[in-house]
Amino acid sequence: MSFGTVSVNHDLFAHHLHARAKRKKVAKKTLAMGLMLTPMVDMFSLLVIFLLQFFSSSPDMLITQGVVLPKAVSGLEVQQVPVVSLTLTEVYLERKKLATIDEVIKSPGILGEALAAVRKDWMKVHKNEKFLGQVNLEAHEEIKSTIISQFMAILAAQHYGSIQLLSYGDAS
């Protein structure tokens, strides 16, 4: 090829251009890596599903307001049975207020009759099954131990002999 009075070797010029481009490519070292979004999204999805499944609180195990449970590490799984709750002053059966603690201690029949009604309803529904007498007792840790023992005796008198004392433990 000729340009004006200068003749240019086409092959040599093309080789020069190619070498220059290659030098530029080598000189520019890429320092930043692209973010791999696919495995990151996979990991986030798994994390969300894991957290939803294992750490959600069950609505059945909501503790009555005003009750601070004691701590124990050897607690077993809680059964879905009637719940008797004792705050510092009041007594609840299945989340419904019954009376104050002093009133129940003076006349245990208040709690006794309510428990008998619950037992009767259970036996109507489960006609061919044996009544196991299971009950959950949820009590504030500051209540006197003698008061708890009296309530346990009231429960036992109403054939609720298998008492589960609810407590806080570390999540396993």
């Binding site: 990151m40 050897s74 209540i143 346990m152 002999g161 407590s167």
Partner: protein
């Protein structure tokens, strides 16, 4: 929008290809994870089983009975009985709850080892029942702490003596 539709189809036709906008999806997942971590329940509710009998006494079973009587929140009398007779009686008295728990645990371990001797017997068959006698000065938390110590050592048949106060 989370999806962008490629509209580069020829002759006025809409392309069926679409690109998912991952940035907003990753934002949503991050917010979900942060929310779940903040509201996670790290403490779980457990149950300590107590068998409370009412009425006639149970039949005599071979093995020992353990009675723990509270004197104060950090002081108890520990009795081991066999067929109604006292075999061993000790008193544990400490100033703090933590020291009391440690001392009670140590006493129970020593008692179990002494009663077991060289016998190959399971602890629920060795100590068949444990009764706790409360006192007005000890609260429910103290009682549960003692029950927890018993259950940790496989003494599972626990009862509470009804006592006014």
């Amino acid at each position: 929008m989370g999806v962008s539709v490629d509209s580069s189809g020829g002759k006025g036709r809409k392309s069926l290809n679409s690109e998912l906008n991952l940035v907003s999806f990753v934002d949503l997942l991050s917010v979900c994870i942060c929310f779940l971590l903040m509201t996670a329940v790290w403490l779980q509710v457990g149950a300590l089983q107590v068998k409370q009998s009412f009425g006639t006494e149970g039949e005599d079973k071979p093995g020992y009975d353990l009675n723990i009587a509270f004197i104060s929140p950090t002081e108890v009398n520990v009795e081991i009985r066999s067929k109604g007779k006292i075999v061993q009686k000790t008193q544990i008295k400490e100033t703090t709850k933590e020291a009391f728990s440690l001392a009670l645990g140590k006493n129970l371990d020593e008692t179990i080892a002494k009663l077991k001797g060289t016998q190959q017997i399971a602890i629920p068959d060795l100590i068949v029942a444990a009764m706790i006698t409360p006192t007005p000065s000890a609260n429910y938390g103290n009682m549960v702490s003692v029950m927890d110590s018993l259950r940790k050592r496989q003494i599972i048949n626990i009862g509470v003596v009804p006592k006014a106060g």
